[in-house]
């Protein structure tokens, strides 16, 4: 009987690290998955911008400065590679887009263009999706980071060098919501 309980305790001690390791791996995969969700939405936004610029050009050609800044910001965002630069570039892109939409308020003909309205709606929803995907990513990062820093998981995490994941910071708290456009 005594032998049996010792054996049982040993079995638990041996299997526990595996269980913890697996759970950590699962969390890490989920962080990666959440990141790829953001990436999908960012790519969608990058694809939409050239169309938008073309449409706006047709009605508001002399807003060249604003249009150029959007194009430039997009180019920077597309080429950014690491996480920090990417976040920064995307934030700048969001800002330029917002000023572009502010400018378009002065062109009633543009606002009555079916193409422009579709693009505007697409961009608004994509911006919202980016915000939500970022929120989901940060939630997952929080879960993962908490897991690798709390007892007993931190022991296993240190043994197999699970690194902390980075949060995606938002500079402007109001940015969480994309500008709302009513049609």
């Amino acid at each position: 009987m005594d032998k049996f309980s010792i054996l049982a305790a040993l079995a638990i001690l041996i299997t526990l690290p595996f269980v913890i390791y697996n759970s950590l791996i699962k969390l890490r995969v989920r962080v990666k998955n959440a990141w790829s969700q953001i990436d999908v939405q960012l790519k969608r936004r990058h694809d939409l911008i050239p169309n938008l610029v073309e449409t706006v050009k047709g009605y508001a050609a002399h807003e060249r400065k604003t249009l150029e800044s959007v194009v430039k910001a997009r180019a920077v965002a597309v080429n950014a590679s690491d996480l920090k630069h990417k976040a920064q570039a995307e934030n700048i892109l969001t800002g330029t887009l917002r000023s572009l939409f502010a400018v378009t308020e002065n062109y009633p003909e543009l606002k009555a263009d079916q193409n422009f309205l579709n693009l505007q709606e697409e961009l608004t929803t994509t911006e919202n999706k980016i915000a939500f995907a970022r929120q989901y990513y940060n939630d997952e990062v929080m879960r993962y980071n908490t897991a690798i820093q709390t007892v007993p998981k931190n022991v296993i995490a240190r043994m197999f060098t699970f690194r902390k994941a980075e949060f995606l910071e938002i500079e402007d708290p109001r940015e969480k919501k994309a500008p709302v456009f009513e049609f």
Partner: protein, 554 residues
């Protein structure tokens, strides 16, 4: 609390087994109770009968059933639970959707596009759950969520809600419904609803049977049907218990779903605003079955209990009082009621009829006939060519290769079914000028630029008349007054112009002249084509219908 949809996926199978076991246990208890009821009935019968002493059964009565009976009861309970399960889970969503009259989205409707986008956004926030959006074509305010065992998830809102609230508020409503889906509430709700509904049906049957019997017994001067009393009481107790359980769980769920919705959108005020808006409007009394009410955001039947505090209200309402929910949300958002009331007004959209350019119109083809290339042809031109067959060689401007006509999707479908409707409709039936496609209140319709007439199909007209973006010209008021006077003078079925002279632009048949029934005391005569369900409205008539439907004349 599950963190995201992924957690639900793993927990789902366990929950299903648990649900089934609960149901089996439920049936077992009821089978046991019925068994007791029957034996108790025998027991009573024995007591009252004169031959009690001589009966061989009188000594054999015991409180506990024998092992054999126990097994038999278990088998019965299991079968009953299984049948009930199969019955309540096959085609569950389809059945419920048809009961509440929900329809899939119209891809061309801009409001529906907005709904689809918002649902997609919330689905991103949940970590990628797939949700199908649906719409109930009616003017009241409500929203619901459904899910079944195959992980199909549906969120639906009413047309009225879609019209009246802004994007941010809509997002919160959808998030609330998505929260129900995340927690798997809808699945449990459906099963518990179906559990409850069986007993509700049974007790109704017995009650009506009893009433019929007692009236016939009255003539025979007989008393209370004592023999079926135990059975009735058992069923009533069961029904009462399920109702209690159902409502209590449902109310806890609403609070939890509110909390999760706030976690998803980080916007407690938006949810508070939409709840306030929905509760202040008519949220419908359309449900054919009470048991479906837990799937809605606000109880559709106008139940006064929902708005009360107190023991009984707390026991029997499926939704918590709105005030309680609002209090919690407002505290989260650091705001109060006055702020809420001031910010719920929806800014009316700028109303312009936006012309639609359809890409198909621009595409041109060239076709080969007797070794000579002809063209360029639009799809409408191709439809009129006599020599075009599925095997005619056809090419387009930007393509380098030549294909058979049937290989192009558009031409093939045109050859099979004729032109698509938006290409077939070209000229105005009354003045024969070109018709153009425009968005009116976000819905594509046809408009004649010259005479101002409009062509709408019936389904879309029903949606247009509840939307409130349109700005009415001053003349509408006079028109409404004129129509009122005219309606007073006109009597019976007689129309001013009984015969229509217009041909339906879609099918070419003569249109019919009738009165538009939705604004009935007002007699507006319009032309409709019964075969394609198209309405032809003269200038300003569409605005006039909207004006009257939305009650702006009072």
């Amino acid at each position: 609390m599950p963190f995201s949809f992924i957690d639900i996926e793993t927990g789902q199978s366990r929950k299903i087994i648990l649900l089934f076991l609960t149901m089996t246990a439920f049936y077992f208890t009821s089978a046991l109770l019925v068994y007791y009821a029957i034996t108790f009935d025998n027991f009573l019968g024995l007591i009252f009968s004169q031959s009690r002493q001589n009966s061989p059964n009188s000594g054999g009565y015991s409180i506990l059933p024998s092992f054999k009976t126990f097994l038999m009861l278990l088998a019965v309970a299991f079968t009953a639970a299984f049948i009930h399960w199969i019955f309540s889970t096959t085609n569950m969503i389809k059945r419920i959707l048809s009961v509440i009259g929900a329809k899939p989205l119209d891809p061309e409707d801009r409001y529906h596009l907005l709904l689809k986008n918002v649902v997609d956004e919330v689905s991103v926030a949940t970590g990628g759950m797939r949700i199908e959006p649906y719409v109930i074509p009616s003017g009241y305010f409500n929203a619901f969520a459904l899910s079944d065992l195959k992980r199909r998830a549906v969120i639906g809102v009413t047309e009225g809600l879609l019209t009246k609230i802004n994007r941010r508020q809509l997002e919160c409503v959808i998030a609330h419904e998505a929260a129900h889906l995340i927690h798997g509430d809808c699945l449990q709700a459906t099963v518990s609803c179906s559990m409850a509904s069986v007993y509700a049906g049974l007790s109704r049957m017995i009650l009506s049977g009893w009433e019929g019997e007692s009236s016939s017994l009255y003539r025979q001067r007989s008393g209370f049907p004592l023999r079926s009393l135990p059975l009735i009481s058992v069923i009533f107790i069961m029904r009462f218990l399920t109702l209690l359980l159902n409502t209590w769980i449902s109310r806890e769920r609403e609070f939890r779903a509110d909390a999760t919705a706030v976690r998803l959108t980080r916007d407690p005020l938006g949810l508070a605003e939409s709840l306030y808006l929905i509760s202040n409007e008519w949220h419908g009394n359309f449900l054919p079955v009470d048991e479906l009410s837990p799937i809605f955001i606000i109880n559709p039947g106008r139940n006064k209990l929902e708005e009360n505090y107190g023991f009984f209200a707390d026991l029997f309402a499926t939704h918590p009082p709105i005030k309680k929910r609002l209090d919690i949300l407002l505290e989260m958002g650091h705001a109060d009621y006055s702020a809420l009331k001031s910010c719920i007004k929806k800014i009316p959209g700028n109303h312009v009829e936006i012309p639609i350019s359809s890409p198909e119109r621009k595409r041109v083809w060239y076709a080969l006939n007797e070794k000579i290339w002809h063209g360029p042809f639009s799809l409408a031109d191709l439809a009129n060519i006599q020599w075009l067959s599925p095997f005619t060689w056809v090419t387009t401007e930007d393509e380098m290769q030549v294909k058979s006509a049937f290989e192009y999707k558009e031409i093939n479908s045109m050859l099979k079914k004729g032109l698509p409707q938006d290409l077939r409709i070209t000229s105005c039936p009354s003045c024969e000028h070109m018709l153009e496609r425009v968005y009116y209140e976000g819905i594509p319709i046809w408009r004649c630029r010259t005479c101002g007439g409009r062509l709408v199909n019936q389904e879309r007209l029903l949606r247009i008349i509840v939307r409130e973006d349109a700005v009415f010209p001053n003349q509408i008021k006079e028109d409404a007054e004129k129509l009122r006077l005219f309606s007073l003078k006109q009597k019976g079925k007689y129309l001013k112009d009984p015969e229509s002279s217009l041909k339906c632009p879609s099918c070419g048949n003569l249109m019919k002249r009738t009165i538009y029934r939705a604004i009935m005391p007002y007699r507006m005569e319009i032309d409709i084509c019964r075969c394609c369900d198209m309405f032809w409205l003269d200038k300003n008539e569409l605005e006039l219908i909207q004006y009257l439907i939305q009650g702006k004349d009072t």
